[in-house]
Symmetry: D4
Subunit: 152 residues, 8 copies
Amino acid sequence: MARPKVGLICGSRSDLAVLAKAEKQLKNFGIDYELTVASAHRTPKKVTAYARAAEQKYDLIIAAAGLAAALPGVVAAHTALPVIGVPIHSPGLSGHDALFSIVQMPPGVPVASVAIDGGRNAAILAAQILALKYPELRAKLKRLKKEMTKGR
Amino acid sequence: MARPKVGLICGSRSDLAVLAKAEKQLKNFGIDYELTVASAHRTPKKVTAYARAAEQKYDLIIAAAGLAAALPGVVAAHTALPVIGVPIHSPGLSGHDALFSIVQMPPGVPVASVAIDGGRNAAILAAQILALKYPELRAKLKRLKKEMTKGR
Amino acid sequence: MARPKVGLICGSRSDLAVLAKAEKQLKNFGIDYELTVASAHRTPKKVTAYARAAEQKYDLIIAAAGLAAALPGVVAAHTALPVIGVPIHSPGLSGHDALFSIVQMPPGVPVASVAIDGGRNAAILAAQILALKYPELRAKLKRLKKEMTKGR
Amino acid sequence: MARPKVGLICGSRSDLAVLAKAEKQLKNFGIDYELTVASAHRTPKKVTAYARAAEQKYDLIIAAAGLAAALPGVVAAHTALPVIGVPIHSPGLSGHDALFSIVQMPPGVPVASVAIDGGRNAAILAAQILALKYPELRAKLKRLKKEMTKGR
Amino acid sequence: MARPKVGLICGSRSDLAVLAKAEKQLKNFGIDYELTVASAHRTPKKVTAYARAAEQKYDLIIAAAGLAAALPGVVAAHTALPVIGVPIHSPGLSGHDALFSIVQMPPGVPVASVAIDGGRNAAILAAQILALKYPELRAKLKRLKKEMTKGR
Amino acid sequence: MARPKVGLICGSRSDLAVLAKAEKQLKNFGIDYELTVASAHRTPKKVTAYARAAEQKYDLIIAAAGLAAALPGVVAAHTALPVIGVPIHSPGLSGHDALFSIVQMPPGVPVASVAIDGGRNAAILAAQILALKYPELRAKLKRLKKEMTKGR
Amino acid sequence: MARPKVGLICGSRSDLAVLAKAEKQLKNFGIDYELTVASAHRTPKKVTAYARAAEQKYDLIIAAAGLAAALPGVVAAHTALPVIGVPIHSPGLSGHDALFSIVQMPPGVPVASVAIDGGRNAAILAAQILALKYPELRAKLKRLKKEMTKGR
Amino acid sequence: MARPKVGLICGSRSDLAVLAKAEKQLKNFGIDYELTVASAHRTPKKVTAYARAAEQKYDLIIAAAGLAAALPGVVAAHTALPVIGVPIHSPGLSGHDALFSIVQMPPGVPVASVAIDGGRNAAILAAQILALKYPELRAKLKRLKKEMTKGR
């Protein structure tokens, strides 16, 4: 049977820490993912190729980026898959730059932005979306919701 | 055969203009929706009941709110469905308040934020998500992408 | 004779440090309080139950939260008690997010916001409010005002 | 029997429009109020005299101000009554200045800030506070909460 | 003899007003230009093709965009020509979004940002750059500097 | 012969580090000063008395404050002396709060704001102002300007 | 007998409206002034000459500017006279740009910033400063303070 | 044969770290540069002389500055060479001040702003501009673009 698959992408190795929180949560859900480092600005052909091939390989994409964070929007430009954007905090402008660059997409090409450094929530949102196609994920999401009500 | 269904919700009648852009785009895609006005702050029981029943009725939810825009997050708190949040611009603070209130969700409960007043993009993101379950939407999304390449 | 009682609530154990400043000041005033950890987003039923039962137990509520700080507003939605909100600083956006999420409440459902990380002031404001019902607090508040004029 | 009384104060005649929303709501609740125009910067003696005499006359104070909105804090400096601050929007800086000037009070002297231009919420918060001393207000607040659940 | 040539590009017809100020100034300098409407998000292939062919046709590029203004950066990703970015003001976030999206480029791929709605300055900066290759422009720039000292 | 005299005032002992930079520079200029710690919010009578007596004792006042930095404005409200305000940085809101609270004074009561944590510049501005009355300071200011041109 | 004299300068004819408020107030005080339009960026030699000659002609300078408002700082760089800066509001960035450009001067060269569009306060601050040298102004300032206590 | 030459200038020795990134990249490209420390505010004559002589010595200028970062604009005021501005981060206001002071230049006198602390990108932009006159740089820029596609 088909299994959900997520494409994880970030623009630079220094962004991997934020995606690590997404990876951990995806593993928890038993969702396969593939991690790619490619930059909308430094390796644009790789990003374009990645985004155009994405539909063959993934159900959705999580893209993390900082500064003038064009990556999620550029990926979204080339695919009809849902793209979740994770803005990454940096010292100058405290993350305002990445947040605004990701969330303020023009009409026609949405990106689903989560919180600054919100890698874990990107993975949970991915599972919520994937649950439409893979109903077994719904139970896992409910278990997560239940777990959140304990331990506190 | 099952048809996709979206729950559209906003906190106040004055927010309907922003959702109208979502409605128009959903109609374009042939996606059914149901429109509800309920406020996380003024009619919280209605919102809670709405969110708890949502899974029976909808595939996903689009929630628009301004100011201390708690609605999308509160809906997300009560359901495992994907929730798309639309921050609404208001004069004081120019929409910073609604954007931050919607996008900065804590770990565990994501909201997928689109741009300020981004009703249309909320609907397109909804279609991208629904396409996982209703593959006929993918063709419509591709047609939209193609149309965007014309007329400009 | 009746004694004043304050409900202290925050969304996460990591927020307790900010509330500790409120606790210390409440103890100073001899005001009873009860501390609860519950999240508007992760444990919404607990928050709703808490807020609905609050009138039986408390005279007012102090709610602290960071990020998309919905907790004070959601508590205020379910009770007619005064709710004091304490925005908590976090690195991304330096507390702008929590402040705007708490203070920009829509017409009909106020929250009384104090400063970012202003746990102590929340407790003093609580005493000022409670002094309407428990006049013995007025003397304590005046003593505090007098003490502030010394030692500096 | 004693009746609740609120002191309404703003720094300039041009701020009266924001307080008018408070007045309307206070009248609705049947709460007496007295309106004063005095500026912490232009008529500081009047403000000091007002604040020092406030305890004899009022149960609490609502103070509205724009720009470097010192009025609520200066009133709070001279009284142990609860002080509700209403930041007023102005074109330069879109209300950020008044909000920060009112809400960021130093430890020891709180002001309860409501939203920018939030005159109506200031009055509702006042009623919630006064209800501790004048229990008949609680019923009115509940009626307001109930009314908010209708008409929408 | 070779003549300078500038590529002018913006993401949407609604951005043309800002570029009109650049066009007028370029005409003043006698610099040829070609105007293209293409969006990094809606017509990404057109933008990529444009940027890759740019070196054959232009000496430099002026790219104007609003919101999550990815266009200048995406063009810069595909060419070694200098790219001047013009952030465009929009009501939500007052242009902070476009400015941050354009100026905060990651190391390796610069964009030369001018002021919000700074179409005219983009053209003057273009002339200053082109004067390195087409020295006759230097005299025109000096004449402009001289004219600016008059009439005021 | 009369000597210039500056009143230095800040709201809290924790603000003394910023004023130390002013003290050092005033000593350098040979300007007498007197240091006072008094808070517009915690010790308002002391501030009022200080400001009303200031004209007898000082030629001008330098007032430093953080957060809802009312001190400079409140001093200015009670005296016709020039008041220089020094906003102090604090973690939440990175000094935006103190800056806006000090600089956005309403018409009628100015404060001369210098940069965040700008204690040294406050002292130099004081000397520039005092030089109108004590011309010997002009030579010292020119020497400072000359020194700045060296060593770099 | 010597009379006080103020140099008023702004960067562009479109800034004259803000300075008109200063002119009116200076006339009220009977303070002579001279109005100059010169831009730190477009007519830098004129500004430098102006600033260097200022000490011969003026007691102090009021400089108004918008956007990257370098004028007050550049004037201050060339003179030891006190320089009052007036930030001017513009649509993009709502005046944050002019305020930060004027107030955040580096150590060694202060500018006394007043509020955004604060032309009138610039004139009152000028009178407060000039009163050190021209004591007859003190009485006028006190009269102004007294007038402010009436009519409200 | 002529060689490209860049003028590097910053306002203070503490800014040299940001320019070091530019120097390293310029060396990489084999572009000669000359480093000057001069402040628009503290050593304005040196800056003016520098800017006026620049055309004899340099092809373009890179100017880095923090706070009220007037240096790039003041240099641009005195030369028709392209001026690249590098805003420098400082704790208060997190770099918003330097960015706005550099990028928001008025019509007539552009500065090409790069990212906060973007020293390396300033050098790459310089090379892109210089390549118009020194075509051998184009190959080096293409090599850099190619290198960026590896190692990641």
